[in-house]
């Protein structure tokens, strides 16, 4: 069974703390993604990784960094958490889109981490 897991379902942190969100996939996918999910704003891409140690900024990277030391693991780091980073964080993974005739590959999502920053 396809599986993307996230380290915590719920997390409460204080302003200024360093926060680590972990994501692991067991499907040998090259691509991994971190999104924020906010009511009325939908899903917004924070960072994207297409290979080990490779990363690309998404639409809202400010205040975040990422780490991908192993293919199966993609970490999201909040260097100094702020209240406006209170949100649901979703991790996803997929095979790469390579063949123009092959189409886009499905993204598989984790259950999400609801982060509250006080």
């Amino acid at each position: 069974d396809v599986k993307v897991t996230q380290s915590s379902r719920y997390l409460v942190k204080r302003t200024g703390e360093k926060v680590f969100l972990e994501c692991v996939q067991d499907m040998d996918h090259e691509n991994m993604f971190w999104y924020r999910q906010d009511p009325g704003l939908g899903l917004r891409l924070i960072y994207f990784s297409y290979d080990v140690k490779m990363k690309e900024k998404g639409d809202i990277p400010e205040g975040y960094s990422v780490s991908r030391e192993k293919k199966e693991r993609f970490s999201l780091i909040l260097e100094s958490a702020s209240t406006n980073q209170t949100s649901m964080y979703l991790c996803a993974s997929s095979y790469p889109w390579r063949n123009p005739g092959g189409g886009h590959n499905e993204q598989f999502f984790g259950p999400g981490t609801r982060l509250t920053v006080l």
Binding site: V4, N31, F33, Y35, G40, L41, G42, L43, R44, L45, F48, Y50, G58, L90, A92, S94, P96, W97, P100, G103, H104, N105, E106, Q107, F108, F109, G110, P111, G112
Partner: protein, 108 residues
């Protein structure tokens, strides 16, 4: 700029009524469009993609390039269809652009 618009935040219907969730996109190239769904307390998952041209759980969606739309339709809504629905656009890359989502409520 590339964008996906879902004009309705909430759509409420009674069981058995037809459903249409609207999605419009802006992209000058050849898009790939998707619908993702999130049921209560479940993870986000792919519902259908336009290149497959298939019906999933009774839902269909046709890509209309002239109107730049990809509306999701079902002739007879069921209570178990209640969920959050996201339209998404791929621009020949690995990344997706998601709309803001529409919550579908189906009343008994």
């Amino acid at each position: 700029a590339q964008r996906v618009t879902q004009p309705e935040k909430l759509l409420s219907v009674f069981k058995g009524a037809p459903v249409e969730l609207k999605c419009n996109y802006s992209y000058s190239g050849s898009p790939e469009l998707f619908w993702y769904v999130q049921y209560s307390r479940q993870r986000l998952q792919l519902l259908l993609r336009h290149i497959s041209r298939e019906s999933i759980k009774g839902f269909t969606a046709d890509l209309n390039k002239g109107e730049t739309s990809f509306h999701l339709k079902k002739p007879f809504a069921q209570e178990e269809d209640s969920a959050m629905y996201y339209c998404a656009l791929s621009m020949v890359t690995d990344k997706l652009i998601f709309g803001t989502g529409t919550r579908l409520q189906v009343f008994p």
